[in-house]
Symmetry: D2
Subunit: 306 residues, 4 copies
């Protein structure tokens, strides 16, 4: 399998982890989900991310799930695996296992009590040392991790570590950050994929992002916006984006958002059950009614768009 | 002037504080701004909120600005004044001053190191004691204050203090919280107005909110959505909402959001300058181009809506 | 092995996890460490706590280390095992495994984004359900977890779940909290053991704590203070405490504190190496010189005490 | 009055703000307090700090209190005034007012949502611009402000702004930070005074600090430790420190600590009332009994020390 590099672009969909109603990993659904994502324009898959309920899996389960997905993908697109962990020993073990199984790269979100640029840099240096050359994605998601990564830190990580090939950009607000990193023309140009459910995708692409790495249950929105943007048709990109925005906004809520996403994926046939492992923020009849209301309106808009 | 009470509804617009380019309060713009807001359906005004740059004003300036706005409004709608302060002495002084000048009520966001339900309740008890019967709005905005207020705390505040007449709901996600409070049919029904730039306004109204208290530069969106909702026309409410959503989403960004809002208000003639007092997160040509792109598309959608 | 219950008292020492210089678990040192702790008055052992570097161990290592320690202890004192985890599935698996191996109970620190009393209560309910009757310790350590647990929440956990038998009290400041819980004479009296390196131990015992659950490298300070307190000799308790306080204060620093503790345990012969797994805040010649200066003065004070 | 510069050393006591039992500023007590501090070795006074309840004072009160203290001190020692504020306009106004009245310099704690080195630097640049050459103290107190300032940021502030003449060091743990800054021999040597109630004063002095800027109710401990350290008698410094440590530790508790400090200052005759302005964490009979127990033992130790 080819390794992840700085040319990565398009939509690396953040995959959910499908569970059965009794909480076991649902490997059959994993197969269906892979096909669902690929059929809707995913150019890569990212598994075991935060929205993939990774912290609720044991290491053995993580390895088994990763292996299963990589085999199913069978080289059609690169698979990136989240390996964030409080300890570097566990991070290294998981990273080596999934790379042996054919993953294209791994993703790490600096976590814990990193409170200054120097602390973040030191941490990233230890990540590089732990990974020993495995291509990796630096996940910048301060709302969740509490770790803030400034553009000058990103510069120094990129300068110091050739194996850091991508920034998963999930700061909010973050448009200025994308521009600042893209203006660093004296450093290696890494891939920048954006998160946050894609709710700023058009602006982010115009600022220089290479695509999205997030998990909105309508991957076709993201691949469509990306294609229109690449074709230079920004009005078309925004038309498409606007058609999906009310629902994307709803799915992006912290807390119930994952329940909404799994509801939608289940409804669309990608997974057999919307079950999550505990602890879970569930959704109920009210949320489902709101989703259905938004879905019906979305269908009309899409029909009008053609 | 009538005092604020539990029947408050509609759009209490969060007003900016207009400054001249040299940083002085621009009282002439304050007049124009009041007329701008009222002409677009505001049923109330809220001044000296967080987005009103209140912490950057001296107490004397706060009192002068409040007095000026109250006089200009001249009883046409109620004026609520933010009086949050690290010390209760300052809070009480400001509250009494603005009430003497004709404000309808005040707003307080519990702040500081309140980390348990009991701590929040104790704080609210001290607020009530400090205000001595002045009608007040409990602002629930954890993303900014770090203070989390559960529905059961809201229940106890409402039960214990008849002068708390409104919840400014700005938690995110917060739909479930609105439903939970509205299901408390055994307590006094207080007004719930929602914040966060209105980007969940249709869902929030359907969950039982009475309107919005936020500062999107197109108040007519919020008054229009509210009117359609009250008329039972939820499709019309969502049509209107969706037409504004891409821009509302953009303005709601933390950091540059206030610059965007003041840019729009200036462009629309509500204020003479978009200047903010320092510290400030400015906006530049990129942000302006993005706003203009969104504005042009919004105009087309509104024209199509009729 | 007897199960942990509300009568637990004395010194449940928070054990380190000994590593070899190459980062493997050092089982031989684990044996020596157990004997070191027991010989200095430990009435219980707590392993796989935060200061035991638990998040840096794999699940398999956690189970193996726990099994080894339980066997070595061989019923002489109860062993409590930390099982905190982002997912309840992993928590339950580890808890059942260590209980099968003879642990007396487990410890859980509510973590994650729990921001209201109700959220903490709901979480503790899920802990109880997950543990299915295994006796457990509620760890209250907001400085580290960001989760604040009020006395009224403790009351409701104790009332609702007979398997919660102990509070590990590590809030700071926390003296008032101990008093408040002890005044709840209408609920089951649970054990309260205190943390934070023991630097408030005399006051905490006088407020109603039953002992300490912390890891100061001189367990004899804590067992000695506890014994004097039980004998009613508060001056003796404070004499002993004061003699150790300068060093205890130094070891309690967040960050380098664990390095200091392992240095001391190594110097005292309890473990073969002071190595920590990464990420690590190391100590160097300056810290060692400061520790040695404090040690020399401590020895003189202890000699004078007799 | 001489301006504050890099040679500042010794004990700049953090003064409380004395209130009458009805909450007014007690100017008579301010006089007595000044004499109390100076008689016990204070080489400077710092007023309107966090433990001076500054956020609970109006600007007018702040100016009046500062003017009163400066006049009473009458040039015997320099007076530093805390001017931290959410807005730079208010910061600048207060700073100019107190400097006109004869203060020697001001102190600023970067606050708010500063989350990267660049953000802190930008903020400090705006402070310098606002102060326009007034000598100022950079307060580094992350536990309270949430803003973390790395040594490399301190370097850049010192290099870029000749009016920043002192670091108030209050990070915890912070010994390594003092050493790191002191090893920066290629930059201007600024004064470093330490906080946190002085509970690490001996180690901090040996690491290169120039004294203390904190408010322990026994200033003679800090001036005595400083004098012994300057005389090269580290055992004497530690003997003195250790004699006061149990009480200093108790007073340093966040929350009730200020109540303890005011109780002690009242008992020692420095202020007429221990009253604080609300919101307040009070102390009661339990805390007073604990303080008295510690005081009695401290008196015996001091008598033995000679």
């Amino acid at each position: 399998m080819a390794l992840l590099d700085e040319s990565a672009a398009g939509v690396f969909i953040i995959a959910v982890t499908p569970f059965t109603d009794t909480g076991a990993i649902d490997f059959a659904s994993a197969d269906a989900m892979v096909e669902f994502y690929l059929a809707r324009g995913a150019t890569g898959l990212t598994i075991l991310g935060m929205m993939g309920e990774a912290p609720k899996l044991s290491v053995a389960e993580s390895v088994a799930f990763s292996r299963h997905v990589v085999r199913r993908v069978a080289g059609r697109v690169p698979v990136v695996v989240g390996v964030s962990s409080p300890g570097f020993a566990a991070m290294g073990e998981l990273a080596r296992a999934v790379m042996d199984d054919g993953a294209a790269g791994v993703m790490v979100a600096p976590g814990g009590a990193l409170r200054t640029d120097d602390a973040v840099l030191r941490y990233c240096g230890q990540v590089a040392e732990t990974l020993g050359g495995i291509p990796w994605v630096l996940q910048d998601f301060p709302q969740s991790t509490g770790v803030f990564i400034s553009p000058s830190v990103i510069r120094r990580v990129v300068e110091g570590d050739p194996s850091c090939v991508m920034l998963k950009h999930e700061d909010w607000p973050g448009l200025a950050k994308i521009s600042t990193v893209r203006e660093m023309t004296d450093i290696r140009r890494i891939s920048i994929l954006v998160g946050n459910g894609g709710v700023f995708l058009p602006e982010e692409l115009r600022r220089g992002a290479d695509g999205a790495m997030t998990g909105f249950a309508f991957p076709e929105m993201m691949s469509g916006v990306y294609a229109a943007h690449r074709a230079g048709d920004e009005q078309r990109a925004s038309d498409l984006f606007d058609a999906y925005l009310p629902l994307a906004r709803y799915e992006q809520q912290p807390g119930p958002g994952l329940g909404v996403r799994k509801y939608l994926l289940h409804k669309r046939g990608a997974i057999a059950s919307a079950a999550q492992r505990r602890p879970v923020v569930g959704i109920g009849p009210r949320e489902i009614a709101e989703v259905e209301f938004l879905l019906a309106r979305q269908a009309l808009r899409l029909a009008a768009l053609g």
